[in-house]
Each structure stands twice: as structure tokens, then as C-alpha cells.
């Protein structure tokens, strides 16, 4: 019997950062043009309590299943006053939702530059350090912030500095690279470096949770792959990378090396496939795939929310991490048989039918499977409550209609069965619109739980990448992989059933 690499664990985290929304790409541009929007934006920011209560966020960290979320009446957002007395926990089986002060603590601890990028005063430094120290998982992060330089009070910042606020309270400033080599380099300006450090801090939170969930020491990881969309580097190597090792260093993964994989939104799926291939080839034993959050995507739809009198729902950085290892006869396997990993070749046209033929039908055919052999499909899983207000519709639902249409075209499903089939194999989108984060893999944690409980046996993950956004091609990309209940685990379940019957 062939052996496959497994997805051993998964972690998902959110950092609720309402006061960083203004530094998202869209709000930043619009606020520069219309400063009066700042007050309107501030009035529509959610409290931490409201973000924790939000059912889509609860689904992301695993306290709710996608099925439970789908049964909840829309709109999912309810003001705290209407949402009942009990706030659900901020920690879930997959990870947690941290508040802004905790995230500022992480951001400061992620800052290794001298002079520092995140300058603060003694009072706030102590407060942020205490915040991390009180957290059950975060004191172990491998930098001692007490050794970072600080000052009794904040000096007047340069005009390019970004104030880091919590409500009305100033916690400090975020600067560009203040050294000589940082001058005249727009890649090292404050907002670019804030974007990169937000990815590092949030990704490190997810990696820390992954280690905790898997019950392993950081030193046991031998390789880390980052799959975020940030561009780290200076003017001579913009987008050069190094994020994976930066996060691994912060989390104490002393024996790991790492690298960054880029494929726009599909990078997490691509990274999981590559991690699995490296494991299968025997190059590494335990690989962590990490995707940090995207500052640029915060507030991307803020104008639509203002227009509809809604709270700003894209107010959180999202991060996730996956542990890929050799077969443990228990965890879900990732199929790496010839042709099982889906791709969209250059020669494919950009028509949806052609794209789906390549990354949906071809892998199933290679494995001798039909679409109806898949228990759940995970396509783009953007929270529809965010995309619909902005006029983009329900992206997840659109994808299911196309998948079902392909099943009909392939003669594997009757046209009249489409809706019922979609309700069985589909789910509602629940991930924040953080670029690479919602692309198929938010379901991986839920899929692992469903396989453990024997509810599903096989899931297919379909991720899309808008690579045409690089202005170097008009192509798009698609990546897919199939995860199955481990045959060893299935045999153990069968043995248990047989022994009970005897």
C-alpha cells in the first residue's frame, strides 16, 4: 500500500486591528483624497467584543462548523447590544482572535531592526510586554522585548511616521528604515515595512498555535514555507522574500530553514503541495506552511460598508499554519499520485470551462474518481457578507455552481440534481477577504475534524490565483489537491466497529 504525506495539524488566527484599517491600501488612498472620511470610518469600526462574536470569525477559529454557520440567519453581524449576553470564547480548537493591544505587542516583538521601526515609550512598552507575558502561548517567542531600546517618552516623529493608535490612545509610531541605507528607498518606507511586519507578527502567532496544537517543540520543525502576498526586500530585490525564516526565527524553530512561495491567492495551496512533495521525497520530515495576514487588504470594502451603514467587517488580519509530515497512519493524507495534483497549464484558455477541466476534472480522472466521489469541495471561501455589500456577489456560491455545471457536463450529475448536490458538497464562505487566506484552505482544519469524526472521507481543495495582476501576463492560475481520510485511521475505525459487534 502506498504511503502519503499527511496534514498533521492546522491553526487559524485573527488579529482584530480596527486602528490599522486606515493603513489598508484602499482606506489609505481614499483618506488621503478625502480626509473627512476618517471620522465616518472611525464611527463604523467594530469593538473587539463584536469581532469575537461575529459568527464567520468563530467559524474561522473552529468554534462553529461551516454547516452551523450556514444555518444561521443573515446578516451575521449583530451589534453587541442585540447579540445576547454571552460572548463566545476568543479561543477555539484551531486558534484564537487576539485583540489589538496583543497584536501591537507581537508587532513590537517582531521588530528586530536597530534603530527600531516600532518606537514607543516606557509606559506602553511595559504594557505590551505584560500583555504578551500574560498570554499562555506567547511568552516563548524568541525575542526579549525588554532588551529593545526605548525612551521615557515619545520623541517628535518624522512626518512620514505612522501613528499606532488604540482608539484615542497613542501607543507609538511606526517608522521607515531610519538608517542611511533606508533613505531614498520607497520599499523601506514606513507603510511598506508595517505591511511586512504585520505579516511576520500574525504569521508567527499562527505558527505558535500550530506548534501548540501539534504538541511539538519549535526545534522539531525542519523547514518552514511562507505563502503570504507581502513583498519583502529593498530597491534592488523588491519581493526578495525571507519571510519564512523571519517567522521561524521569532518562534524559536532553531533547526529549520525556509523559503517563501509566491502564487497570489493560490500560494497556500501551492505551498501545501510543495511541502507534501518535499516530505514524500524524503528531503524533510516536518514542514510548517505559514500564511501571515495582509495589511493591504484591511478595509478594502470600507466604502461599501459606509454606504450601507454597516460596520467595517474587513477589520482583522488573518493568519494560518499547517503541519505537513510523513505518514502517521492517522492524519488525513494528501494524494500525490501522478496527475492527482491539479494545475492549469499555459496552453489552457482562460475560459472557466477550460480552467475547471484542468484543475477539477483532470485530477479526479487521474485517480479514477468522479466528482460525486468527493464529499466536500473547498473553493474560494470568502465571507459573502463582505463581498456582497461591495457588489461582488457570493464568490463561493459562484464557484459551486461552476463545479456542479462541470459535473453535469462530464455526465456525472443530472442537471436537476445540481442544487441538492451543491448543498451536500458545498459550504458557505467564512474567511476574511485577506487575499491568499480565503483560497480553499480555511476548510482544511474543518475537513480534518470531519474526517476524524468519520463524517467525510475525501475533500478537494481548489484555489485560484489572479496572476494577471502582476501586469506581466494575462493568464490566471488554478491549483488543486485532494485530501483523504488516512487508510490507517479508516482501518482502525473498522477494527473498533468489528470488535464492538463481536
Amino acid at each position: 500500500m502506498p504511503s502519503y504525506p499527511v496534514i498533521k495539524s492546522a491553526a487559524y488566527c485573527l488579529a482584530h486591528v480596527p486602528d490599522l484599517v486606515r493603513y489598508g491600501s484602499k482606506p489609505r488612498r481614499e483618506l488621503a483624497r478625502q480626509p473627512e472620511l476618517a471620522t465616518k470610518l472611525a464611527h463604523r469600526l467594530r469593538s473587539y467584543d463584536e469581532a469575537v462574536r461575529y459568527p464567520a470569525n468563530q467559524t474561522f477559529i473552529g468554534n462553529l462548523t461551516p454547516e452551523t454557520l450556514a444555518a444561521m440567519p443573515r446578516p451575521w453581524f449583530r451589534p453587541a447590544a442585540d447579540a445576547g449576553a454571552t460572548t463566545p470564547p476568543a479561543q477555539g480548537p484551531f486558534g484564537e482572535i487576539v485583540d489589538q493591544e496583543t497584536f501591537y505587542g507581537l508587532l513590537r516583538r517582531a521588530d528586530v531592526l536597530q534603530p527600531p521601526l516600532f518606537v514607543t515609550d516606557d509606559k506602553h512598552r511595559q504594557r505590551l510586554a505584560a500583555r504578551l507575558a500574560a498570554h499562555p502561548l506567547l511568552p516563548g517567542l524568541n525575542t526579549d522585548s525588554t532588551q529593545l531600546p526605548t525612551s521615557p517618552s515619545l520623541a517628535p516623529p518624522p512626518s512620514s511616521a505612522l501613528p499606532l493608535l488604540l482608539g484615542d490612545e497613542l501607543y507609538g509610531y511606526f517608522l521607515g528604515d531610519q538608517r542611511a541605507e533606508g533613505h531614498d528607498d520607497e520599499n523601506l518606507a514606513a507603510h511598506h515595512l508595517l505591511e511586512n511586519l504585520c505579516t511576520k507578527a500574525s504569521g508567527s502567532l499562527a505558527l505558535n498555535w500550530l506548534l501548540h496544537r501539534a504538541g511539538i517543540e519549535p526545534e522539531q520543525i525542519d523547514f518552514v514555507i511562507s505563502c503570504g502576498e507581502e513583498a519583502c526586500g529593498d530597491r534592488y530585490q523588491r519581493g526578495g522574500g525571507g519571510m519564512a525564516k523571519a517567522m521561524a526565527e521569532l518562534c524559536g524553530c532553531a533547526n529549520a530553514s525556509g523559503l517563501d512561495i509566491k502564487n497570489f491567492c493560490a500560494a497556500p495551496a501551492s505551498a501545501i503541495i510543495m511541502a507534501a512533495a518535499l516530505i514524500q521525497a524524503g528531503v524533510h520530515q516536518r514542514i510548517a506552511v505559514v500564511g501571515g495576514g495582509s495589511l493591504a487588504k484591511l478595509g478594502m470594502k470600507f466604502q461599501a460598508f459606509l454606504d450601507h451603514g454597516m460596520p467595517i467587517l474587513d477589520d482583522s488580519l488573518a493568519a494560518m499554519a499547517f503541519l505537513v509530515t510523513t505518514d502517521d497512519a492517522k492524519s488525513p493524507i494528501i494524494r500525490l499520485d501522478p496527475g492527482a495534483v491539479g494545475k492549469v497549464p499555459i496552453a489552457a484558455s482562460t475560459s472557466d470551462e477550460a480552467v475547471f477541466r484542468h484543475y477539477l476534472l483532470a485530477p479526479l480522472a487521474a485517480l479514477g474518481l468522479k466528482l460525486t466521489d468527493i464529499d466536500r469541495f473547498a473553493p474560494e471561501l470568502q465571507n459573502p457578507e463582505i463581498t456582497e455589500f461591495a457588489g461582488s456577489g457570493d464568490v463561493t456560491k459562484k464557484n459551486y455552481r461552476k463545479i456542479a455545471a462541470m459535473a453535469v457536463l462530464a455526465g456525472q450529475l443530472g442537471k436537476e440534481e445540481m442544487e441538492a448536490w451543491i448543498s451536500r458538497v458545498g459550504m458557505v464562505g467564512f474567511a476574511p477577504t485577506q487575499g491568499h487566506i480565503p483560497s480553499a484552505v480555511p476548510y482544511l482544519g474543518h475537513a480534518m475534524a470531519a474526517m476524524e469524526h468519520g463524517e467525510i472521507k475525501r475533500a478537494m481543495f481548489l484555489a485560484r490565483a489572479s496572476i494577471f495582476l502582476n501586469r506581466c501576463t494575462s493568464l490566471l492560475d488554478g491549483v488543486s489537491f485532494i485530501v483523504e481520510q488516512n487508510p490507517g485511521s479508516a482501518r482502525q475505525d473498522e477494527n473498533k466497529r468489528n470488535s464492538r459487534e463481536e
Partner: protein, 41 residues
């Protein structure tokens, strides 16, 4: 119907890409003046 007409094409990644729309329109004899594909997520 589209022979000799001029078209401006807006596509979307999660619907129909601009490239695909343009390919169909060109096949029908249309001239594409501008084409863009947006990604709204």
C-alpha cells in the same frame, strides 16, 4: 451583429475573464478597444 463594432471589455476573475470575453467578441468580428480583468477579493 457584432461585426465591425467596437467594444470595451471588463471581466472578473470569479466570473468571466476579460480575455475570454475578448476572444469571443473578436471571433464575432468585434474590435476590442480596451480590456481589463478585475480581482475584487
Amino acid at each position: 451583429m457584432l461585426q465591425g463594432k467596437k467594444a470595451i471589455v471588463f471581466g472578473e476573475r470569479d466570473d468571466i475573464s476579460g480575455t475570454t470575453i475578448s476572444t469571443c467578441l473578436r471571433a464575432a468580428g468585434c474590435e476590442i478597444l480596451y480590456e481589463a480583468t478585475a480581482c475584487f477579493v
